[in-house]
Amino acid sequence: MSRDYQTQTPIAARVVEFIQESDAIFTLRLQLEDAAERARYQFMPGQFNMLYLFGVGEVPISIVSDPLDDDIIDHTVRVVGRVTRGLAQLKKGDRLGLRGPFGHGWPLALARDKDLLIVTGGLGCAPVVSAINYALKRPEHYRKLSIVQGVKHANDLIWQHRYDDWREREGVEVLLAADEAGPAWPFHVGRITELLDHVTTAYDNCVVMICGPEGLMQRAAELLLEKGVPPYSIYLSMERNMQCAVGHCGHCQLGADFICKDGPVFVYPDIRERLLQEGV
């Protein structure tokens, strides 16, 4: 079978665990049913799969597990539409379809021996979780890992225990901010970009990976440029309607780029003018 057969028709996967992360966010831990497919399947952090809910349709979902995890492919999903609402009802043992992986992931090789700064905003931050996990498993590859996460409201922060755990690691710093928070919130109250003044990343020798709403990504990237981060060291993960995932259906076009195959991760100068551009 050609690569195209593989990528354009799903293969069956089974839910081995369903983790409810918050009201609207859950993680599907999937295993491909066919042993040969399991052996063949490989991905890199930042890539995504098309998950197919029987009879309903497909939706692109970032892979959050580690490429070296045996057999289990994790997807963290936020309930936003028809398909994700349906996926949210799956239970352990249920089946779905999977095709992928698609797209270009994070430049983790490029970041080797440098500081790694991860900036995420909004709910989920799924596309960068895989990069965080990847770096944590390979601490010898990176000088320092800084994670900056902002949420609108303190209650939106999922995985607080994970952040606590990450913070304990050597060479890892975690900075959290919430636009709004009650008195019990021990972290920064305010914009995520304000945290960038406090990060200890060596701005002249780092790779930055940003994920979140376009406005946030733009503000963060521009601020980092001001602080001396070279433009080609800043990477963003973009999102648009994706249906085929192989650059054919035309929905995910962003200017001349097809996000599904040319992205979803882009280097900042390549899409700088597209961020927040109306109607693009």
Binding site: R3, I11, C249, G250
Partner: protein, 368 residues
């Protein structure tokens, strides 16, 4: 293969070409008159071709007239040509089956290569085919269904001897004579056809036909015919540099167009290079199988720019920008040339009478 030197096929012998193609295992597909337009479909006899028919096209209007002219191809085009054949408007990509235990299986419909000979492909549509080939076959991923359909095609192009009011292929460099990509190419004259091969497949047909040497005066007439059709084209799309439209998103003309545009998507549906399609599921009521279908989509439709509850292109202005900027500007980055081959369909079949060329020229900074 470049266009070879032509030979001559007398008019009364034209049916022999069709017979030869059938003999070689091809199903004939070509232009016919249906519901007031020239429509490509399966045919069996030369009598089904649009003899003496001519299309009078204007922005927002298409009418056929007939005359005693014996020519079969003395018209510009109809609403579609090759696109529905290669990129069907609706296609089952795969089928999912669910058994009583919830196990899923996925099946792809057999895609056998059907041998189809398309008779009378115009230059604009040959150029559009080359663009669709680039999109579906020459990128990172290949479309297997498109590949199978493409493999089976035998293309008989025909040079245009007439241009409708909406034609502007001369300005895009794609016509009125076919340049490449065909198996055979015809130039229709009063007495018969100049015929030349453009591929080995085409070459293999020629020895089976009673061909004569092309006379110098016939070649002269053909050349004159080409020049006349170029001269007939009253519209010209001015060249647009890369980024030339993209940088014009703030131009007030977009809103002016949006005020007149219905947002109906007809321009995109008749465009021979538009490739957008969506995918959806059609679940059998028994709940045991679901067809995963892909269908033509339009950037004028609401679902095209829909992103998890957020609409990227809320207004008709933004959708018109997506259509025109992609077609004339982004295509150049994506495929090395503009996505427009000058067929004029987007104007003829526009119920809102929008003149794409005029608007593009205004926005591109040129003259109307």
């Amino acid at each position: 293969m470049e266009r070879q030197a032509p030979r001559f096929l007398a008019r009364q012998n034209f049916p022999l070409l069709l017979e030869q193609l059938v003999e070689h295992g091809y199903r004939l597909h070509g232009p016919q008159v249906r519901d007031g337009a020239i429509v490509y479909d399966t045919f069996h006899s030369v009598d089904q071709l649009p003899r003496g028919v001519q299309d009078q096209q204007q922005v927002g209007s298409y009418r056929l007239i007939t005359s005693s002219n014996k020519r079969l191809f003395h018209w510009a085009n109809g609403p579609q040509a090759l696109k529905p054949l290669l990129q069907p408007a609706r296609e089952v990509l795969w089928q999912a089956k669910r058994d009583a235990n919830g196990a899923l299986a996925f099946m792809v419909p057999e895609s056998s290569i059907a041998k189809v000979a398309v008779i009378g492909v115009k230059a604009c549509d040959m150029a559009a085919l080359a663009l669709q080939d680039q999109h579906f076959l020459q990128g990172e991923y290949e479309d297997p269904g498109y590949r199978a359909r493409r493999e089976g095609l035998f293309l008989v192009a025909v040079d245009c001897s007439y241009a409708a009011d909406t034609c502007f292929c001369a300005s895009t460099g794609d016509g009125p004579s076919a340049q490449t990509g065909f198996d055979l190419v015809l130039t229709e004259l009063e007495t018969g056809y100049l015929i030349a091969a453009g591929s080995d497949k085409g070459l293999s047909i020629l020895p089976h036909l009673p061909l004569l040497d092309a006379q110098p005066q016939d070649l002269d007439i053909a050349q004159q015919q080409h020049a006349d059709v170029v001269a007939m084209q009253s519209r010209a799309l001015q060249p647009i540099p890369i980024g030339g439209l993209d940088r014009q998103r703030g131009h007030p003309q977009w809103q002016d167009i949006a005020d007149r545009c219905l947002g109906c998507g007809n321009c995109t549906m008749v465009c021979p290079t538009c490739f957008c399609h969506h995918q959806k599921d059609e679940l059998a009521i028994k709940g045991d199988e679901s067809q995963h279908v892909r269908e033509w989509d339009s950037c004028f439709g609401e679902s095209h720019g829909e992103l998890t509850g957020f609409q990227v292109r809320k207004t008709i202005k933004h959708r018109y920008q997506q259509w025109m900027i992609h077609k004339l500007d982004s295509w150049q980055e994506q495929y090395g040339r503009s996505g427009c081959t000058g067929c004029g369909r987007c104007m003829s079949w526009c119920p809102a009478d929008i003149d794409f060329v005029k608007e593009a020229n205004v926005l591109g900074g040129g003259s109307e």
